[in-house]
């Protein structure tokens, strides 16, 4: 459980040069972002830079624009204006969701989004496909590398012994882990986690924190939206506070916690 996926065989797709180039570079660059739904401004002039190797938490009261922010990065919502770049060069506002996913941005939804009618293993298998290879899909063939990868992922998310179970029968926490496992398959450069520990028991929350910590890698950025402050404190290097679609504060948990404005709009309540 304690090793980073970035170092397992599934990162074979990246060259050494790329790996060193990515260190401490910008993964996601958001500049002057504006998102409106009708007359409602969900995000106003937001600028955030997320670096590789970093675990960023985004906190803020309901309706602050946290989920919208993830929607924009993953292509679900198109902004009115502003730049959203991957690696400071790829414009994420111009390509669709599957393309963004294939570029290495993985997203976990707030509600566990797994395929309940399929077994745990089939869920991972489906993720391994990444929608590629029409005939490979029809013939259900997997390469040895893919098989190894499936087993590795199952080990990381601790569901090795549940592989044949219907995903719908898993506990809430296991479902969340399964979904994270489905993201890991793509060895994503950027992982977006929307409230990963909502509804979890303390024990499950601890395990999830461990899991997320094990995903850290110098070539990966992790973004977590979460309300659980203890959890945020445990995993995040840097915290951004959103309020009414704007960036209110940014910095270490300690710094943010003591910011009077943050206390007033969010933590104080």
């Amino acid at each position: 459980m304690a090793y980073g996926v970035g170092h397992c065989s599934c990162s074979a797709g990246r060259t050494q040069d790329e790996e060193s180039e990515m260190q401490n570079d910008t993964a996601i660059y958001v500049n002057g972002l504006n998102v409106k739904f009708g007359g409602f401004a969900a995000i106003t002039n937001l600028t955030i830079e997320i670096l590789y190797g970093q675990t960023r938490a985004i906190i803020g009261p309901n309706g602050a624009g946290k989920t919208t922010f993830m929607d924009v990065i993953t292509g679900k919502t198109r902004p009115q204006s502003g730049e959203v770049l991957l690696d400071k060069k790829l414009d994420l506002t111009s390509i669709d969701e599957p393309s963004i996913a294939r570029k290495g941005i993985g997203r976990k939804f707030q509600k566990p989004s797994i395929f309940e009618a399929l077994s745990v293993e089939k869920n991972i298998e489906l993720a391994v496909r990444k929608g590629l290879g029409f005939f490979a899909m029809l013939s259900s063939k997997f390469s040895l590398t893919q098989r190894t990868q499936i087993n590795e992922i199952l080990a990381i998310i601790n569901l090795e012994n549940e592989r044949d179970r219907m995903a719908g029968t898993l506990s809430h926490g296991q479902k969340q882990w399964l979904e994270i496992g489905m993201l890991l398959v793509a060895d994503p450069k950027v992982i977006l986690l929307d409230e990963p520990v909502a509804g979890m028991t303390d024990h499950e929350t601890d395990k999830t924190a461990e899991l997320i910590a094990s995903l850290r890698s110098p070539t990966r950025a992790i973004v977590v939206v979460e309300h659980d402050m203890d959890f945020v404190n445990k995993i995040a290097d840097i915290v951004s506070v959103l309020h009414e679609g704007q960036l209110l504060a940014e910095g270490s948990m300690e710094k943010v916690r003591n910011d009077p404005r943050v206390v007033q709009v969010y933590l104080g309540r």
Partner: protein
């Protein structure tokens, strides 16, 4: 292995065996058993089985796309109709070649020659290929436009229903030259076999059974494959699949076109067995009924669709002869009871009962 497990594990084998046995039994019983023998099958009942099998193929086509990919089409009659009409075109060609007399509807329209358009369908092989191609084209254009625009759920269903209605109204137009409201009839022969011959009709019914078995195996293979899992993914959480990098619109398009082609094949087989094709084949009623057959049998199982179509149509033929006025009420009652009591349909419910000890369901 207990009987229950055998039934679950070997469903496909059992179904295909049963279909092939029926295909073999029909000609043998008609030919060699005496008319008074209770196991003798009359031409009437064989013809009925043949028609029901065509509906079973049609229902299976819908279940493939509805039960697995979650796309509820209330317009599969369109593709059934395309197959049916193309077969009609071929059959009037064949009649004309024999009698040199133009079909009635052409005479009414004052045509002197057999029109060039219909001559495309002079050969059976070309006609079958044309039916499949035409279905791919129409289903492809419609599917491409709707799936790309992300039209889903009930909106999609309503559009397909409207499409059926529009096509029916169009076919009712006499000036269209496709037979208008009377449709096309007076078919004489198919690939050189006289349709009036008992052997031809029995042959058609047997071929229908075999085609159902083959198409079932094909669709079963696909739903069991990784592609089938992707279809289930589309059904249960399309957004999740998209964020995993899947182009879900393409998965849906492929499933949709394949399903439409299977429906067209059902239409091709159906028309020579009923001996007529008219716009009622694309009536919205029939298209909704297909969904009812699938729901009764149990969607997402393929076998359920076959069972549903067979039971409902069997009942319908039997009851609409005995008590035509009560039939709609019985169908409604059966549908209601199954919707309330057996949400997975007859076959889905049976599987659930059988595998209660196992923690698995569906595929």
């Amino acid at each position: 292995m207990s009987f229950k497990q055998t039934l679950i594990k070997r469903q496909e084998f059992i179904l295909v065996t049963v279909l092939l046995l029926i295909a073999a039994y029909m000609p043998l019983s008609n030919r060699f058993l005496d008319v008074v023998n209770p196991f003798h099958m009359s031409l009437f009942s064989i013809n009925l089985i043949g028609q029901i099998i065509c509906f079973a193929i049609l229902a299976m086509a819908l279940d493939f796309v509805w039960g697995f990919a979650g796309i509820l089409s209330l317009g599969h009659g369109v593709f059934f109709g395309i197959g049916g009409y193309v077969m009609g075109f071929y059959l009037i060609n064949a009649s004309f070649a024999e009698t040199k007399v133009l079909p009635d509807f052409m005479l009414y329209m004052g045509w002197k020659d057999f029109p060039l358009f219909f001559q495309i369908f002079k050969y059976l092989s070309v006609s079958i290929a044309m039916a499949v191609l035409l279905t791919f084209a129409i289903a492809g254009i419609f599917g491409f436009a709707t799936f790309r625009s992300r039209i889903n759920g009930v909106y999609f269903s309503i559009i397909t229903q409207a499409l059926t209605y529009a096509l029916m109204l169009m076919l009712f137009i006499n000036d269209l030259g496709l037979g208008g409201n009377n449709g096309m009839t007076g078919f004489r022969s198919l690939a050189g076999y006289k349709l009036a011959d008992i052997s031809t009709q029995i042959g058609l019914a047997s071929v229908s059974c075999i085609v159902l078995a083959i198409l079932y195996l094909l669709l079963r293979y696909i739903v069991k494959s990784s592609f089938g899992q992707a279809m289930i993914g589309v059904r249960d959480d399309e957004a999740r699949l998209r964020f995993l990098g899947f182009r879900t619109d393409r998965i849906k398009l492929f499933a949709w076109c394949l399903s439409a082609a299977v429906a067209a094949i059902a239409g091709l087989l159906y028309v020579p067995q009923v001996g007529i094709i008219n716009p009622n084949i694309v009536s919205p009623m029939l298209s909704v009924e297909i969904a009812v057959w699938v729901a009764i049998g149990g969607r997402g199982t393929l076998i359920g669709a076959i069972i549903g179509a067979t039971l409902v149509n069997g009942l319908k033929f039997w009851l609409s002869a005995k008590a035509p006025s009560v039939w709609p009420f019985i169908l409604a009652a059966v549908t209601l009871l199954i919707t309330i009591g057996l949400s997975n349909g007859l076959w889905g419910g049976t599987l659930q009962l059988l595998s209660r000890s196992h923690a698995r369901r569906g595929v």
